[in-house]
Symmetry: C2
Subunit: 552 residues, 2 copies
């Protein structure tokens, strides 16, 4: 029995395997199962092939478009995929190319995910779509949109509330959007299981997240190329192996992207590390795949060492759910239905027994604000400098050493016109010296990807964190301002403000610890690489020097 | 009793200690003794001070102007000091700044010698003279003019000769000027003592100069500043210590210059190494004094290792004559009266028993001509390249490393805003890393003078030799052509042509041996320096790396 679908938008096939479909046309579906946002069927002209699922509406009611094979895509979401709500403040100090969505705001994939994967795909449907004007959706879409459910939830909560404290007039402020205001006003309500509880403990450095009692690691293998549609479509898949299960799971970039959106929604005052950029910058002329993988390794490293993020259900689901589609889908739905997001997140926080001195909190937060500002400014300089330095090594330095090598080679060639026995050894040694310098030039060109690119990657990750913090600080400041404005309700508000403050300071403390750890290890790595590099040059020149003693 | 002198040209004092004198004026001399071309006296206006000796004529006949204190200067020679007779061919391939007078041509100082010394002299009389027009002589003049006596000697010889073989019509050809033609035509005649005899021996590589049985070395100390005229004039003096006497003698540049002129005149087919340039090039921003000293060391090295030059009387006089003015003057006059110059030089040559095959000689000479052409072309490229490379290291490379250092310093400064105990160690380590990179920048800037400047100096010296050889080859070719043209006189001409050829080939062989020795040792030195340089950088970075383990 033939399934039918009505075409919503014109689609022009531009790649083998695709068919063109026209608005209002009825097409026959071979199956209601989508494959990554594509359906297979036959158009009214009898051509069979693929077309984007989001371009058609299935005409039989009992078939929902969510029963797709791939549990991670929500192909029916007809929304521009470049959605990114970010407060202007969170963008401050962000250079071009930094992923830049702040904590508390959210971020979907920066462009279609297949767009990314299709870097290894000869037949890109996205390329075709880009020629088609703006009215139809981009296809296939990738992540679900946390903002939608989130806002409806907020509306519910707002309807329930009996507001005795004035609301923030700016409905788009991060304080409001993050759920901070709702929590402070006592509007948050959800059942918090013991397993969901997040503890802030008091250390000599102030509030900190309680350490993860079961730390683990996670390796990311080189991505492998996967194909579907009998080889017509391809994508890259990353093998992740967490040490606590020691079972490899395979994830695509869009799965990372989906996870990221969940985390941002879930944790208003936690700085979720940004995913590596979608766009290849070509910086250091590094291989694109390798660069993204390195970015994901950095990202993973920040995830697994964050006491809250590492433990949370959605991340664990992402890390541990195997090839069982059903299990994956269940976990996915559970995450998407999670109630403990936004304002309810704060319900999960257990604070130390003694509340914080809010004056002291305010001063700490101010200090941190200055810190992030300066760090942001200065790492921009560092990034520009080392990128510049990398470029110089790849071009100028290499060229200079090679020119020296070539000129020594010329000298050797001139000397070879004298064929007396006693000059042969020198001629060979000079020729070798010429080659050695050419090689040293190559060494210079190869080096930046080893010792400068990793620093640049680290700086990128930290620019992401620094872009997150203004929103995080905004939430805490919003709470503090509200407390100051309403002295009569001070008791309850004060307790809730204490929770927000504890969480914020714990996150700041975690940031500093991570920063010291990361920069220490990265600087060490950089210096080790540099030392190895100069030793390699030294060895090459020692080889050359040796030649002058040979055949003398 | 007052000595008087009549003024020949106007002289305008422009420096303290000098007095102005006017043409035809009578001046009173305080002494008939000149000091480096200057006299001290009183003019008709009662002003007392110095004026150039060559601007006046002493009115009492019994006093000769040659009884000066300084035996080396011949201050009365009223001749432009920029004399330099050089065949156009000898200039081929010479870049700007190479001293460039060929063998067989001669060369006086390139400008007044005091001009040179006055780089350390506040009151330069030469500066004053330069404003004075062209009619009076430049003052003080420095070296005697070998060309004058030389040409009169040639005239004598030419008058004596009974020419049966056609003369070269070009009286300015090197073949003629060097005395090569006169010798070939049997016009040379002089008494040759056994000690003057120069042996060419046959080795497996062809004719070679017989090795010096008493080789020696000679050190050149840092020059010291000497003053005269109660501190008003100053000059630099070089302490030379030859190992065969182990007694230090002091020589000024003008003494080197005088010696050079003697040697060029004495040895028509020997490549006398050029003296280091008069002009400071500022290359490598090297200290000027140090650069000249290094040039003189190279020069000395070539002198003492040349079997003929090292042994010759005038050089030995130069190296060994101490502070005894009388002894110096005697040796100087003896050298200037030496008969065994030009054509007579060839009378001193003892050849191997079996005469050379002139065909083979011709082909060897041709091969050498190609060799010098290629070497000359290629060392120009090498010189440009390494000078360029030096400049890049001093400017660009240094700047790049320092910029990296500064950016790390900035990172450290940002981090210092976080004053928690656990970040102090990292902050100090990053600050140290910044300093280390600044230091590495300095290393790069300092390095070229250690490992590129010496190569450049060596190339300069060899460009001098390569500029000498066209004239040397010209003498041999002139002789060969004459022999071919006059078959009937073949016997005698052939013998003399054999002498010229043996000497030329011995000199070429010496050039190759010296070249292989010099370039081998210089390339070794360069590589050793480079290795030390990269090891120094490595050590600095290892220090920096160590800091990350300290105070962790």
């Amino acid at each position: 029995m033939a399934l039918k679908a009505r075409v919503l938008y014109d689609f022009h096939s531009e790649n083998p395997g695709e068919i063109s479909i026209t608005e209002n046309e009825l097409v026959t579906l071979f199956s209601e199962e989508e494959l990554d946002g594509w359906l297979e069927g036959e158009n009214s002209r009898g051509e069979a092939g693929l077309f984007p699922a989001s371009y058609v509406e299935i005409t039989r009611d009992q078939i929902t478009s969510n029963t797709n094979n791939n549990g991670l895509s929500s192909p029916k979401a007809v929304t521009p995929t470049h959605t990114s709500y970010t407060s202007p403040e969170s963008q401050r100090g962000l250079g071009a190319g930094s992923g830049g969505s702040g904590g508390g705001s959210f971020h979907t994939s920066q462009g279609s995910d297949d767009d990314w994967d299709d870097d290894w795909d000869d037949s890109s449907p996205t390329d075709a779509a880009q020629g088609m004007g703006t009215s139809p959706p981009l296809y296939p879409v990738t992540s679900s949109l946390p903002g939608r459910r989130d806002s409806s939830q907020q509306h519910q909560q707002q309807a329930k509330s009996s507001a005795t404290v004035g609301r923030n007039l700016n409905r788009f402020s991060t304080f409001v959007k993050s759920g901070g205001e709702a929590f402070l006003l006592g509007e948050a309500s959800a059942f918090v299981k013991d397993g969901d509880r997040i503890c802030v403990v008091m250390s000599k450095n102030g509030p900190e997240w309680q350490e993860d009692p079961y730390p683990f690691m996670c390796t990311i293998d080189d991505p492998t190329k996967q194909t579907k549609f009998k080889g017509m479509k391809s994508y890259m898949s990353y093998g992740l192996t967490p040490t606590h299960t020691n079972v490899q799971v395979n994830r695509r970039y869009k799965h990372f992207d989906w996870l990221y959106a969940r985390l941002v929604e879930r944790f208003p005052v936690i700085s979720v590390p940004h995913l590596p950029e979608k766009q290849a910058t070509g910086r250091f002329e590094e291989d694109f795949i390798s660069k993204r993988r390195k970015g994901l390794i950095w990202w993973m490293n920040h995830m697994i060492t964050h006491p809250v993020l590492a433990r949370c259900d959605v991340f664990q689901h992402f890390l541990t759910c195997g090839a069982d589609e059903k299990a994956w889908k269940m976990g996915k739905r559970k995450a998407e239905r999670d109630e403990l997001v936004g304002s309810n997140f704060f319900l999960t926080i257990s604070t130390p027994a003694v509340p914080l001195d809010l004056q002291e909190v305010e001063s700490k937060i101010e200090g941190f604000k200055s810190f992030t500002k300066r760090m942001d400014e200065n790492i921009v300089v560092v990034n520009v400098t080392i990128n510049d330095f990398a470029r110089k090594q790849i071009t100028g330095f290499k060229k200079e050493y090679q020119k020296v090598g070539q000129s020594f080679a010329l000298l050797g060639q001139a000397f070879e016109l004298d064929q007396q026995a006693y000059s042969g050894g020198l001629n060979r040694a000079i020729a070798y010296t010429g080659e050695a310098y050419e090689q040293v030039g190559e060494y210079f060109a190869e080096q930046p990807r080893r010792d400068l690119a990793p620093i640049s990657d680290l700086l990128d990750l930290y620019r992401g964190h620094l872009a997150n913090f203004p929103d995080i600080i905004h939430v805490q400041k919003g709470a503090l301002t509200k407390v100051k404005d309403c002295p009569k309700q001070e008791g309850e508000l004060h307790d809730r403000c204490n929770i927000i403050s504890c969480a914020t300071l714990a996150e700041i403390q975690h940031f500093h610890r991570t920063r010291v750890r990361d920069f220490r290890s990265q600087m060490q790595h950089h210096l080790q690489e540099q030392i190895g590099f100069f030793q390699k040059i030294t060895a090459k020149l020692q080889d050359a020097l040796q030649k002058y003693d040979d055949d003398q």
